[in-house]
Symmetry: C2
Subunit: 265 residues, 2 copies
């Protein structure tokens, strides 16, 4: 599984202050902890700083990459922020995100075309947020095919079907899971990704519910996720579910995790 | 999910002695603990007592049912034991098991025909144990269709695809999971069941692997299981996975479990 470490996000109170003060040491510490715990990408998000977002995201990318040999996931709803931040990124970043919303699509596409950039494609359109598998697949079909027809390689596309809270609809979990399955069936070689903590919004024992949902999503074929890599239980669930899903030859990763104490909590 | 409580099994050392000594109090205690923890059936197995198995299983059924209003799952490879034990069972038992092995099939069929008894149907034939989904489906097709053509209602059939250790084959987990999915797709109204602890045979952290595998099996449609209902984590996983799979209206069971402290461990 490809792990995007989610912790450097200005919506988190502690991180917000560190970003505002450009506390290099702290940002590097959080990036390194995630990298050491298995993050393949370090998400950087400064979305709450209106007017200063570009400056902060660029600073975050540079701060992370001056200290670690790891790509970032540039995370902003604002195409302008993405466009500017990509320029200071070394190697191939991931971008979070493009969608079928026309304004976002039209402005992000030129940034990624011909670059090899990995792109998170949200199942969202100008008509808003879909609820069912069928609604999501209608958007995914258009979105993915538009990207492919613009020469974005399918293996650089990470579809995020968008998790919605189970507390708002009994079927919101299963419709999401079934979308993962359908996307993998329809587009060979594509990736699926999500930040799944939204599933437990409004119910108790959120972390436990999230950890459980991760195992279910892997069972349906999820191969990338935006998570907290320092959540030891979550990471153990991922390693174990992947082994049980036939993705760990001779249980090697599982056995290594066991020996390193990663299955103890 | 229908839970078959697995603890009253003579292969477990402590229980073996209690059965040998016909310790009524202890057997009732273990049955009641499982019932209180959510068991829908109490498995009774005295398979290691050669020559005395019938006597012990009958005694177990009677002992459990004199004290609790719960059906048993009569668990024996020996059709004779099953035939005799069914006679002393009040209400409708579950039987573990029938298979496509001709001797077992031919002798169990008359015991269940026309009775309403619930039957666990193992994906096993005279050719032995299957490994892949396709091999299992070939057996399941014959077995289930034979049962149906003998007027066993599909909703009384619980197919057990037979879990095999992930340590013996990287794909043994996913082939099992895919079989669950295929059986549910092919036979509307049927049940699937398993005792899943075999998956972790030979690897460390067995309980954790089993608990993870349960969530994966539920994701693929497993609706019954032979488990230890006193494994609090396992039961919490079941409740949570079922909620996330859209089987818990308004998250009611999840919320109740939370209030009762069943999600704390």
């Amino acid at each position: 599984m490809q792990i995007v470490g989610e912790l450097i996000n200005a919506s988190r109170k502690n991180i917000r202050n560190e970003i505002r003060e450009k506390n290099r040491e702290k940002i590097v510490e959080v990036a390194k902890a995630q990298y050491d715990a298995g993050a393949d990408f370090i998400d950087v998000n400064a979305g709450i700083f209106v007017g200063k977002e570009t400056d902060y995201v660029k600073w975050l990318v540079q701060t992370v990459q001056e200290n670690l040999d790891v790509p970032c996931c540039i995370d902003s709803p604002d195409p302008k922020v993405i466009e500017e931040s990509v320029k200071v990124h070394k190697g191939t970043p991931m971008i979070n995100s493009i969608s079928l919303e026309s304004e976002r699509f039209d402005r992000i596409l030129p940034v990624i075309r011909g670059t090899g950039i990995k792109i998170i494609a949200l199942c969202m359109s100008d008509e808003g947020m879909p609820h069912t598998r069928d609604d999501r697949m209608r958007i995914a079909d258009k979105l993915v095919n538009s990207l492919i027809s613009n020469n974005i390689p399918v293996e650089n596309i990470y579809v995020d079907p968008l998790v919605q809270p189970i507390g708002s609809g009994d079927n919101f979990g299963i419709e999401f899971l079934n979308t993962i399955e359908s996307i993998n069936k329809e587009f060979k070689g594509i990736h699926t990704i999500c930040g799944l903590s939204n599933i437990s919004y409004g119910i108790p024992k959120r972390q436990f519910a999230n950890q459980t949902f991760m195992i279910m999503a892997i069972t349906k074929g999820l191969d990338s996720a935006i998570v907290n890599p320092l959540d030891k239980k979550m990471m153990a669930n991922i390693i174990t579910a992947e082994m049980l899903a036939g993705q760990d030859q001779f249980c090697e990763k599982y056995m290594t995790a066991y020996r390193e104490g990663l299955l103890d909590f």
